[in-house]
């Protein structure tokens, strides 16, 4: 039986629109559900006081600090390394067997479950290098974990910069580095920022690798060698150990709002940057 094109059109629009609607609805439901359960717990004192009785009472202040410090540290390590590698692969080498092997390697690394990185961090940083369960061990482990993502997204962003810009810059007597710094990187920046946001998101939401390397101590770190607890880990422990479902939801609500704020800030900064350049 042949279906007339008019009907297939209607069916296609219905199915595709339905898929979109369903996806958005599930997302909205999760966010509303968590915020509904969590927000009543979130007060000013919840945000600014230490946890008490393993998290049954008190707030999550040191945990918020841990959630800020750990991704910041890993980005501080992974960003220069990752973008540097991408620039090298994209701008300084020609496509050879070697670059293909490197690219294949980063793709494989990107697909490895985070717990493997956690195990590696536990054996290497925590154990062999005697860093203990610490901010530093966690930061280094997460940096390695997000490096492939940052390399690949940066590489894509660099490749999307028109070749003509490189030729023009080169034809005016720019060295390769001047071309990279003045033309290629500024134009690739929005894409690079996207990769960084993905990396930051993975760091913030990571639990397994963090527990293995940064530990779970829920107090204020005083040095890079102190253990920290992030909100995702705190949430996991509160819910898993049945300590306090209320405070678990409260933490989750704060986490969701923080990620939202982070994304909005990045989005706004990127647009400000693009507007400034394309006046």
């Amino acid at each position: 039986m042949r279906i007339p094109p008019r009907s297939t059109q209607v069916i296609a629009v219905g199915l595709l629109g339905g898929a979109t609607l369903l996806t958005v609805a599930v997302l909205v439901f999760i966010i509303v559900f968590v915020l509904d359960k969590g927000l009543p717990v979130v007060t000013w004192s919840f945000l600014t006081s230490d946890p008490e009785d393993m998290g049954r009472a008190g707030g999550i202040f040191p945990i918020i600090i841990g959630t800020l410090l750990l991704p910041l540290l890993s980005l501080a390590i992974a960003l220069p390394l990752g973008v540097g590698t991408a620039v090298y692969l994209c701008e300084y080498t020609r496509e050879t067997r070697m670059t293909r092997v490197i690219r294949f390697g980063t793709d494989c690394l990107a697909g490895i479950p985070s717990i493997i990185f956690g195990l590696f961090g536990l054996v290497f940083f925590v154990g062999m290098l005697h860093m203990g369960w610490s901010l530093l061990s966690g930061g280094l482990t997460l940096a390695i974990m997000i490096l492939p993502t940052i390399i690949r997204t940066s590489e894509e962003a660099l490749r999307a910069v028109p070749q003509a810009y490189r030729e023009v810059s080169c034809s005016m007597g720019a060295t390769r580095w001047e071309t990279v710094r003045k033309v290629v990187l500024p134009n690739a920046l929005p894409g690079i920022v996207t990769g960084v946001m993905l990396g930051a998101g993975r760091c913030i939401s990571e639990t397994a690798a963090v527990i293995f390397t940064a530990g779970t101590v829920a107090s204020m770190p005083t040095s890079a060698f102190d253990s920290v607890r992030t909100m995702a880990v705190h949430f996991y422990i509160l819910a898993r150990e049945g300590i306090s479902n209320e405070n678990a939801y409260g933490t989750a609500a704060v986490l969701i709002l923080a990620v939202l704020l982070l994304n909005l800030t990045a989005y706004w900064m990127m647009h400000a940057f693009i507007r400034r350049r394309a006046r």
């Binding site: 030729e167 005016m172 007597g173 500024p186 350049r277």
Partner: protein
């Protein structure tokens, strides 16, 4: 060394991935004159042009044979710095490609390279001078800090010319600079080129034989990677030596 000669090619060939793109060209380009290079697509005009500023080096697998000299120096000598060469030899591309920067930033891009940028006042002067010489100043003087991408195609191409002029290059290479432009913009570019030859050596590759006839002092005809014939423009267009040149300039093929 003849001081009249700015650029000299002797037995100069270009290969891309082992394929011959330009076969043993021998040609002298005189200073303070416009050389027009005509020929159908795929004749090697652009390969020759991009050999003069060593832009072919960007191709992952290109090599050359023979000699290409600028002021008597072999520009493909291993000790010759291609970056320094490109500061002396500017290029305007077929499509207008302003960098995604402001008009002002586009013009000062070249002068600011290399770590010793001139002071602001000097740059301001350079911008005005270059834009005037490219017949663009009056149209953009009130919006120098808006994006170069906001200009029309013809204006963008004149911006690209101004950008090369600000480098104070000795040689200006133009690769079919008017192929996408309207007749009025084309006339403005041609007018600018005629005025510029007193201070620059100009090599103009063009698909448009009439353009070569209008502005070039000498003309070279390329066909399938070979230089068929070159000489004073009037001679090439009226009494060429080679039948193929005659067929091309009279429009029998191409």
């Amino acid at each position: 060394m003849n001081s009249l000669v700015k650029i000299a090619a002797r037995g100069f060939s270009v290969f891309f991935s082992g394929n011959l793109a330009l076969r043993s060209i021998t040609l002298e380009i005189h200073r303070n004159a416009i050389l027009g290079i005509i020929g159908p697509s795929g004749s090697g005009k652009t390969s020759f042009l991009r050999a003069i500023n060593r832009l072919n080096d960007l191709h992952p697998d290109s090599h050359i044979e023979g000699v290409l000299q600028l002021d008597g120096e072999d520009i493909y000598h291993p000790r010759f710095d291609p970056v320094a060469l490109r500061k002396r030899v500017g290029m305007v591309f077929a499509l207008p490609i302003p960098l995604p920067l402001s008009i002002y930033e586009n013009v000062v891009y070249g002068p600011r390279l290399g770590g010793h940028p001139p002071p602001r006042a000097e740059l301001d002067e350079l911008v005005e001078h270059s834009l005037r010489a490219a017949f663009l100043w009056d149209e953009v003087k009130d919006r120098l800090h808006t994006s170069g991408l906001r200009l029309s195609g013809g204006q963008q191409q004149r911006l690209c010319l101004a950008r090369v002029l600000a480098m104070q290059a000795e040689v200006i290479l133009l690769d079919e600079p008017c192929s996408g432009l309207d007749p009025i913009s084309t006339a403005k570019i041609e007018e600018a080129l005629t005025a510029l030859k007193s201070q620059h050596t100009i090599v103009l590759v063009t698909n448009n034989t009439k353009q070569a006839a209008r502005v070039a002092d000498k003309t070279a005809f390329f066909l399938m990677g070979e230089l068929v014939e070159h000489g004073p423009t009037r001679q090439i267009f009226t009494v060429p030596n080679d039948k193929r040149t005659n067929d091309y300039v009279t429009g029998r093929f191409g």
